[in-house]
Homo-oligomer: 137 residues x 6
Amino acid sequence: MYSVNVRDHFMIAHTFRGDVFGPAQRLHGATYVVDLELHRAELDADGVVVDIALATEVLRAVVSELNLRNLDDDPAFEGLNTTTEFMARVIFDRVAARIEKGELGPHASGLSSLRVKLHESHVAWAAYEGALPARSR
Amino acid sequence: MYSVNVRDHFMIAHTFRGDVFGPAQRLHGATYVVDLELHRAELDADGVVVDIALATEVLRAVVSELNLRNLDDDPAFEGLNTTTEFMARVIFDRVAARIEKGELGPHASGLSSLRVKLHESHVAWAAYEGALPARSR
Amino acid sequence: MYSVNVRDHFMIAHTFRGDVFGPAQRLHGATYVVDLELHRAELDADGVVVDIALATEVLRAVVSELNLRNLDDDPAFEGLNTTTEFMARVIFDRVAARIEKGELGPHASGLSSLRVKLHESHVAWAAYEGALPARSR
Amino acid sequence: MYSVNVRDHFMIAHTFRGDVFGPAQRLHGATYVVDLELHRAELDADGVVVDIALATEVLRAVVSELNLRNLDDDPAFEGLNTTTEFMARVIFDRVAARIEKGELGPHASGLSSLRVKLHESHVAWAAYEGALPARSR
Amino acid sequence: MYSVNVRDHFMIAHTFRGDVFGPAQRLHGATYVVDLELHRAELDADGVVVDIALATEVLRAVVSELNLRNLDDDPAFEGLNTTTEFMARVIFDRVAARIEKGELGPHASGLSSLRVKLHESHVAWAAYEGALPARSR
Amino acid sequence: MYSVNVRDHFMIAHTFRGDVFGPAQRLHGATYVVDLELHRAELDADGVVVDIALATEVLRAVVSELNLRNLDDDPAFEGLNTTTEFMARVIFDRVAARIEKGELGPHASGLSSLRVKLHESHVAWAAYEGALPARSR
């Protein structure tokens, strides 16, 4: 199995609801450094997992929708806690949707799965990994 | 699959027995930077893999039992080489036991597996990954 | 010249005012990983720059006043942009004030200067370095 | 499952062929920081995954064959794009061949798989992971 | 003294001339991860050292002139060894020239000095630090 | 001012004496990742601060004298606390002595100062920086 990883980041504000969050129920924020890892069983004819320039652009497009915003104001997250692990899944879903739309180009047809990891500090991170829908492959 | 990771460290002295260890048979020591990665198929109702504050406390409790000690003096390791990979398993077992006792709270019931990684320098690390016992899940 | 550095972090929300900030004028947030570096010409009788446990506690106390908050709501920052470089100075001033109050213990009498560095992402950081007031030394 | 990882690096020049590579079709170069991760179900009698000194030597030997060279001049890569993911596989194959020859010593008989990760910058890396041939195990 | 740092990278091929370089006299290459650190005694009216978006653009412009090229073919470096420390100075000079031309905007008038650090691997880096010409300040 | 940095590491056991050290008075240990930074006003005729291969060898020689040992058994440290900041100075002095003996070659005659930084964990490090004796320059 081959993997390629590209990195970007975004900076957001949010609150959490639930006693388990303690003082994080207050309005605060985070920098999320994002690693998007793309998996593929074999290399394509050019010898790559994916066009890394396109992968960088797709990740940039997805994080730009979230960057420098208060996630509490985003209707997509209404009634949900935008925890680090939850946001990893959000980015997974949005990247997967763009792959289905063909934004990663013809190379992406061989991709089998993705892993999205969000680093929230030097001591904590969260990730979501899943297979790509059949149509993407 | 979702993951959450918390990081801590501990500093120990020890010796190794066996010609394979060369000069590491002498009394020496190490800083181990520990990554505890917890895995879960789905998020709970709060949108989390685990209560990260409790996970941090549990990891702190486990490394505190080892920190600032000579592992050669610990009866638990008598006759054993406390290599980095061995210590990764020790921490896995001790965290798993605390999860079984309920120290991670009700959230932890959905955890499926753990990965413990110990960084011993900027060029070497070791890890142990395994499923949690049925009762933990 | 000797240096000792301890690291912690805090997570905040804020807005910036001024066209230079572009989309960062919206409510957003950041994780700041903080490095507090303490400088001293000579080691004390115990062979240390400072009691590192006390330095860790003082840094923790200072970042706890800011952690998990919206800086826009803090009267201390009214009418000011809480940029990364500005917050580095805020932490410098608050650590220096605690040193003057004796919170770093008798060891701290030899400290000559501090450097506070705030990492806001994997590609950007800011710092403030300055001498300690005469009374601290 | 246990893992042990050792790190080294090498610095090469190369060109890529194919429009997908854009300006990287020009002669350029890269530093590859290499992580060699070795996997094993159980520890051996000494409590290790592998003799880490030998693993470091084997990785050093493999990267030395590539270090400080123009990969375009290497007959092994004629007509191929020496992308980061491709080179991860090259190093995997060469380490696996040395394991088969016994260069990792008797400890290595229990190794089940390897992962080779090449970091090409602070924002991009690629990896190849695969099982070791039956004879190695 | 305040500092702000932005990071980028570039990937080049080159050779070195002189016995001191040993096998690095062969055509090879490097990834340089670049840190551009800008220094200023006091913050401006917006509370910043420099417009960080402009600093990122200027650094990007400077590294783009060098990225994905064979430095041996660049007339600017004819007869010179493009070592890591030499390239740190090249980037310093080119950023300083752009500051003189006003590319960092009115904020940059207060900048006193720059430090450019080039990381060539996980174990080696080089830097050049110098004052800005009087006109820049 | 130019700088070049090389990195290595060593792993030791030791105890500290004095109530300020709390539980670190017990026998324990540390991994020290060492950065040796060499400073020089101008590059030499080859375009380098120092022969980086020789600098790497000298650092390796110095840390090898300490690596995989109990510092409490070393007569050089009798009656002294081998704290991180103290060990940074020890390495500074030993590297400086080797420079005086000519081990860095003719290039080293222009070196003005050194900085030695020891990373003891992901959250703490210490350093010593000083001028080289006149004879070295």
